[in-house]
Amino acid sequence: MKRISRFRRHKAAAPLLLIFALLGIGGTFSVASATTANEMSAVERSTLIEEGRQIFLKGCSSCHGLNAEGVSVAPSLIGVGAASVDFQVGTGRMPMADMSTQAMRKAPVYNDEEVAALAAYVASLAPGPEIPGMELLNFERDGSTAEGGELFRNNCAMCHNFAGQGGALTQGKYAPTVMGVLPKHIYEAMVTGPQAMPVFNDKTITPEEKLSIIKWIKSAEAEPNLGGASLGRVGPVTEGLLAWTLGLGLLIGVAVWLATKAK
């Protein structure tokens, strides 16, 4: 019995859609896949680093210092590695728009080439975690959903919630949702520990285990609503709200109608 094993579209789906679809049509969410970087020569690499340095001087040095040594408002980037840059800049967290709040995910300011150049520059300052290559990130092949779920609940759910929807931290900080994040960015977050997030070493959570976590996250992301609208997958709070508003609200509505005299 593997009835829920794959969430395929059935041939009856089209007519059913006509029956059920109340308004409009559905859209699908597709995850853009990142392009793989090819091997490059030393010359190409040094031009890339120089390119990155120029971008850094223009866009980053005012906070992180001319040599990325860090100043009071922003940390040193020496030794953070290319993975950290790829995560922070690639997810739009850096450059920060507003220093008063936590760096949040937004549309990236730099394009893929510029991010690669910046990463190469920062990586050239001192060794650090590298950007995981596409061949490493084959989570569909190397990961296990069930094991990933256990690892996620053990290591991630306390901040990011049981379904990866994110949650509150102290003093207004928060753990963001992990839904819709590129696999490489999830991987980079685990190895670099961005913002308040701690680092998850390769020895305590092996690369294979990390892929399992990613596989589970992607499975949770793709999982359709098995029991009706998800209500945000945040637990009983929204359920209680709906029970009072829609549930008791509807019933009181009918009760009022019931108790009014017919004309």
């Binding site: 009835r3 579209r9 559905g26 306390m158 102290t170 070493n201 020895k203 359709p224 029991g227």
Partner: protein, 331 residues
């Protein structure tokens, strides 16, 4: 009630206003058709339920705006059932409202208190009965009966004694012993101190010869959180500092407040947060409580490394882990 003279006289029940269905046979027929239509819709709901049960496999998903991808089987069953039931109710109520006589009826109420004589007789009977039994006079009977009844209530308490064992030393002990290896959870791999870099955390358990022997009872006490800081970041008493190893500090993951897993570690602030009741612990100060309802720091485990550099416990926990209880000594 005399002081409460009603300033405005009770105008009495308003006159009954006839409904359209009372006066117009056509309206009544229309109402009948409406009721029948509602019952008809209900029947369609049951048909939908049957169709969904028999013909829609449970791995079909349809997209519905706002709600997202829905399981068609579940949705069909549920909506079918909802329609079937809801419209029976709607029809019945509409029927009652439009076609059943809606003249309001007045029913008289009577005071519950019986007529004076009856009440007096009743009270007297009770008193007489009590007196003739001698309950008041024969205090020996009264007292011994009370004692016997009270004592007999002990038997269920006594018989429930075997619900569980009495609290024993295991209440205050964990599986952490001197020399126990720290292993990853899940994975059960030993950890070297060098495996952890600054800013990292690891969820660990004590090593079991056979990890299959590790049950929830063990996890409930043994779960440990390992955090690595720069040694300079600590602000610890010397004895507590000695319990760390090269910046690696180990705390019980079981909250000292109500036993939830405390594991929200913020690398930036070095704070640990419990998601259940938001107790916040400062890792640099031996998990001192800095916010929330917890009253005690998380117990710290004394750790070191063996000859090969694997992390081991130097000593068991010096205090019970988890929430407080009466018999827990002050630590």
């Amino acid at each position: 009630m005399s002081s409460q003279l009603e300033p405005i006289k009770d105008p009495g029940l308003p006159a009954h206003v006839h409904r359209k269905t009372d006066t117009d046979p056509k309206a009544a027929d229309r109402a009948e058709r409406q009721v029948a239509a509602m019952f008809g819709i209900s029947a369609l709901g049951t048909v939908l339920l049957i169709i969904s049960y028999v013909f829609i496999p449970d791995d079909v998903f349809v997209f519905i705006p706002i709600m997202g991808n829905q399981n068609a089987h579940q949705l069909g069953l549920g909506l079918g059932m909802a329609i079937a039931l809801f419209f029976i109710g709607l029809g019945a109520i509409h029927w009652a409202k439009t076609l059943m006589p809606d003249q309001e009826v007045v029913m008289q109420r009577h005071e519950f208190r019986s007529p004076e004589q009856d009440r007096k007789d009743f009270v007297d009977t009770v008193k007489e009965g009590a007196a003739s039994s001698g309950l008041g006079r024969r205090s020996l009977i009264k007292r011994s009966l009370g004692a016997a009844l009270g004592l007999s209530a002990l038997s269920p308490i006594l018989l429930l004694r075997d619900l569980g064992p009495l609290p024993g030393p295991e209440q205050k002990k964990t599986n952490w012993k001197s020399g126990t290896y720290l292993v990853t959870d899940p994975g059960d791999r030993r950890i070297k101190a060098s495996d952890l870099e600054v800013g990292s955390v690891a969820q660990v358990m004590p090593e079991f010869a056979d990890p299959k022997d590790r049950h929830l009872d063990d996890i409930a006490k043994d779960a440990l959180l390992l955090i690595r800081l720069r040694p300079s970041e600590f602000n610890l008493e010397p004895d507590r500092l000695a319990m760390t190893h090269e910046g690696i500090i180990a705390f019980s993951k079981i909250c000292s407040h109500m036993g939830c897993a405390v594991a929200l570690y913020e690398q930036t602030t070095k704070h640990l947060l419990c998601p259940c009741h938001q107790s916040t612990f400062d890792v640099t100060r031996a998990a001192k409580v800095i916010f929330g309802p917890a009253a005690r720091p998380l117990p710290q485990l004394d750790i070191t490394v063996d000859d090969e550099g694997y992390l081991i416990a130097r000593k068991p926990f010096s205090e019970p882990v988890g929430p407080s209880f009466w018999g827990r000594e002050k630590s």
